[in-house]
């Protein structure tokens, strides 16, 4: 362990020492400071954030900006719950460092609605089709669906399936999601389930 008196940082707090349990190790270490200023736009607002550039966008968004709509599901880009847009492109924010968004525009679920608060067509369809059950995956689903419709305004079922396969819904609402995408796209009318006999 390297000790450089010029860089020594005293960590031992007398109160902590007294309050600690038997085998407390209070150590003095030299740590690598990793953070620097990163400038970006998030949901239309310019922000400068002092952060480790390797930190994934997901955790910067949730912890530093306090926007908890984007969720953590797997950490290895397998589930899609963390999907946000960077310059309009959908990315898995759990596996994309904040440095990749430097100088760019991040959009999260909190920024998808209109300026005046009106929900987007996709969000409205999600409500009319009663899509979310637990809802944990749905921010990611909506972000992916929004990007899909921007790219392909009238997608076929095959196109929807291929595009959305990266977004897992553990509650199994795939049929409703597909329907809601088509309602938002104007391909199908909204309908509710049949009434009981």
């Amino acid at each position: 362990m390297l000790l450089d008196f010029g860089q020594l940082v005293a960590l031992l707090n007398p109160q902590t020492a007294l309050g600690c349990s038997l085998r407390l190790h209070c150590v003095i270490v030299q740590q690598k400071g990793a953070s620097r200023m990163v400038s970006l736009t998030i949901n239309g607002k310019n922000e400068d954030v002092d952060v480790d550039p390797a930190m994934p966008i997901l955790w910067v968004v949730r912890e530093r900006f306090g926007m908890t709509g984007t969720k953590f599901g797997c950490g290895i880009a397998q589930c899609g719950a963390c999907t946000v847009h960077v310059d309009g492109e959908p990315i898995r924010s759990c596996s994309t460092p904040i440095s990749a968004a430097e100088g760019k525009a991040i959009t999260t679920i909190e920024g998808i609605a209109e300026e005046d608060g009106t929900l987007s067509k996709v969000q409205q369809a999600w409500i009319s089709e009663q899509v979310p059950q637990c809802g944990y995956c749905q921010s990611g689903q909506i972000m992916s669906a929004t990007a899909l419709l921007r790219e392909t305004p009238r997608p076929t079922d095959e196109q929807i399936n291929a595009y959305m396969r990266g977004n897992v819904c553990r509650c199994g609402m795939y049929g409703r999601i597909r329907k809601a995408i088509k309602v938002a796209a104007g391909i199908e009318e909204s309908s509710r389930q049949e009434a009981a006999t």
Partner: protein, 152 residues
Amino acid sequence: MKHASILLTAAVSVLGLSACSSESPEPVEQIVVREPGQAEAATPDAAPAQDAVAAGRAAFAACVACHTVEPGEASGAGPNLAGVVGRVAGSVDDYAYSDALQNSGLTWTAQELDAFLADPAAKVPGTTMAVGAVSDAEKRSAIVAYLASLSE
């Protein structure tokens, strides 16, 4: 009710594992590295070679979700990387590589690894490794140094 009693029993036994006394159990070992708000030390200007491996091990923490490094350990979402430096790409037995990587013809020299880590999808289009790019050159070379230190 049977269901709840099973659960309550489970709950008690789960909690029982942690408690050795009737009081809230103390940690066995508690390392206080830093107080919140205390600045971390600045990055040193030049990192000696030994530090590169340590820095690489630290940076590799982002990779362990998919890659194992102990010799003989089973591959996970990505192939086991013990002995990867100098190895022909796509040669770990128990891993199902993408066709792209399997047929890449690469040998993982430090240079090729560095290029791959900088942008995997550009270096090997079609690779399964969709994530994991390391944009910082110093961090990349530290990771390569760490990988080189892994025994076969």
